[in-house]
């Protein structure tokens, strides 16, 4: 914290914004530059950033955040059905309802800490999922998922005389259809705003209090701080982030299914955050990108594509090589993901961000050694660019 000056933060933020906006360019060599995956990067980045506000700062491990994602999605689709095809009300209502839902669940769950809290949130989310899949079908359309139909009223659009023509309408922002790259940029802007807000929160007195909750809740209450409303606020904020992510999922693809609320989905955001680096600003986004990349790209390899990739190898080498690789891609992508989890957490306790920090530190040390600079400046240099600057949770 001491190293993160307003200037370094601004620089960092601008860097982030540029990186996000130019994502279609630099992801191209990795085969990831197509709208849907880019949208997913941004959306799950938002989800993970929000989750990190709760988990990374306060240390409360929620295993039920997917419920808020689901609520956001359902609300957004209902907004498209009842009000308007504009993403603005969809996103606003999605966040609002997810926030209210989070307030209710958080109010109850935050009466407990540690694993008890985790299981309470898990229980609420699983109840939501199970009910959404079965008895709440009139609201959620169950297994099939909530979809748009041509007959939906769309009261606001009707009032304003917006005509969606034949067939199913597409969400559109003042005439720009929310598909493909425009939809990505809509999500990207949301991600940048979400990131900026998370940065403000992390750097604020409020954020300091959240970290104090993580550090020593007992001391904090004897210091005159009512910890529960702080934790609840963090919970609601992160619930609203999840709601935002959920409604963006609906904006880019107006269909909401119950499985979005399943515990595996809650677990996924936990994994994203820890994989990237809990408590760091950038880590959760990285974690989200990596997991979504694996899910969409690694799963798509098959023997034919592998052979095509390695056809420069001689046959006697290519076949066993492809055979070996095929264990880890296609239907084996889960194996790769599992191994990745283990490797990262074994060797990089702070997640991927720790790896980046270590590399940055090593590079700097080498450079300093070359320039003959004194060694003990290390991470306390005033440049404001030290890796530590970006990690309020360290």
């Amino acid at each position: 914290m001491r190293d993160a000056t307003p200037r370094s933060d601004l620089f960092f933020f601008l860097l982030f914004a540029v990186a996000v906006l130019t994502m279609p360019l630099w992801t191209a060599p990795f085969g990831a530059s197509y709208p849907d995956l880019l949208q997913k990067f941004a959306i799950f980045g938002i989800f993970a950033i929000g989750f990190n506000i709760l988990f990374g700062l306060t240390g409360y491990l929620s295993f039920g955040h997917a419920a808020f994602l689901g609520v956001g999605s359902y609300t957004a689709v209902w907004s498209f059905k009842l009000l308007s095809m504009s993403p603005i009300p969809a996103v606003l209502f999605g966040m609002l309802l997810a926030g209210l839902f989070a307030a209710a669940i958080g109010y109850v769950s935050l009466r407990r800490t540690g694993i008890y809290f985790a299981i309470l949130t898990l229980a609420f989310a699983q109840m939501s999922y199970n009910l959404a899949y079965s008895v709440l079908t009139p609201i959620t359309n169950g297994e099939t998922g909530l979809q748009l139909t041509a007959e939906d009223p769309r009261a606001l659009d009707a009032l304003l005389g917006v005509d969606h023509g034949a067939g199913l309408p597409t969400p559109n922002l003042f005439g720009i259809e929310m598909i493909g790259f425009p939809a990505f940029y809509f999500c990207a802007v949301a991600l940048i705003i979400a990131f900026y807000l998370a940065m403000r929160i992390a750097r604020s007195p409020f954020g300091t209090m959240l970290r104090a909750i993580h550090s020593n809740q007992n001391r904090l209450s004897y210091t005159g701080v009512n910890t529960r409303p702080y934790a609840l606020t963090a919970f609601v904020i992160s619930g609203m982030y999840a709601g935002l992510a959920g409604s963006l999922l609906a904006v880019t693809d107006p269909l909401a299914g119950a499985e979005r609320m399943q515990w595996t989905a809650s677990g996924e955001v936990v994994l994203m955050t820890i994989l990237g680096g809990a408590g760091t600003l950038l880590g959760p986004v990285l974690g989200a990108v990596v997991i979504k990349y694996f899910e969409n790209i690694f799963s798509a390899f098959n023997n034919a594509t592998l052979h095509a990739t390695f056809d420069f190898l001689p046959g006697w080498l290519a076949d066993p090589f492809v055979g070996l690789l095929s264990l880890f891609v296609g239907d084996g992508w889960h194996l790769t993901l599992g191994l990745l989890f283990m490797i990262v957490v074994i060797f990089l306790p702070g997640g991927m961000m720790e790896g980046i920090n270590r590399t940055a530190k090593a590079v700097r040390r080498r450079r300093e050694a070359r320039h003959g600079a004194s060694g003990d400046q290390d991470s306390k240099d005033g440049s404001g660019l030290s890796a530590r600057a970006y990690h309020p949770g360290e």
Binding site: G114, L122, A123, V135, W263, G332, G338, L339
Partner: protein, 338 residues
Amino acid sequence: MDAFVLQILNGLDKGGAYALIALGLTLIFGTLGVVNFAHGALFMLGAFCAVSLQKLLTLSQQIKDESVTFFDAYKEVPYLEIWFGDTGSMIIDYAVPLSILLAIPVMLLIGLVMERGLIQYFYKRTHAEQILVTFGLAIVLQEIVKSVFGANPVPTPAPEIVAGSADIGAMFGLGAGVVYPWWRLIYLVFSLIVIAIVFAFLQFTTFGMVVRAGMADRETVGLLGINIQRRFTIVFGIAAIVAGLAGVMYTPILPPDYHIGMEFLVLSFVVVVVGGMGSLPGAVTAGFLLGILQSFASMTEVKDLIPGIDQIIIYLVAVVILLVRPRGLLGRKGVMEG
């Protein structure tokens, strides 16, 4: 009334499975302080011990079905039957109970290797990191099993003699036609025996006393110059055996597939927490309690009253219990609350 008895039996049966998994989980929590998301995978590996033994015993001579062209279709006659006739068939028939003998050493070995090779480095790490690494391990184990045995469930029947149902109506003077599968009764008894053995072991052996003392206050026991660490490693092995045995014996009830552990994982965590972290009796009580409640909630009469209640009952009960009793049914203060 009869319906009630049957539902209680169903509940106890389910509860037996929950209790066995939760018992191992809470042992590991209590001793090593590790959140083991790979515990479901241990259950799964146990189940696949049974599958492996069955596959081994049914290694077959293949008699080609000549009516099928284009590919090779066989009628399979196990070598055991060819060599030993009815004795061979009987051995095959008893594959599941026999695999208990296989599962005990195998699961112990897996448990020890897992603890020494991986878990021991995570004692001091955060719970989140423990979750990540054990979850990763669970996925890896699953995928390995999937690549060997495929993704479909594998039928693993109970021995012929207990494949059917017991007429408990006649046995206990209930109504006519009240039957219950033999194997489920065996499973219930088996789980009670395993639970009793674990408790007796912890209660009456020196080893167990040290472990219990270690669960209560690790530092002090460490100060006494007792190598608590090595004992905890063995505890992990025991937990693995218990989970594995639960898996072995469950195979005739639920044909196992590679994913079976994940399905039990979340539920068994709920059981452990409802029982109270670090409490062995709590885990067992909660296991049976939730099993029975789940059975009752599934009764048509109850479902008509509250639609969908069977879908959420376990979680609902968990919420209520945790709100009324902050540390679950029998939990101790300060365990896993940080």
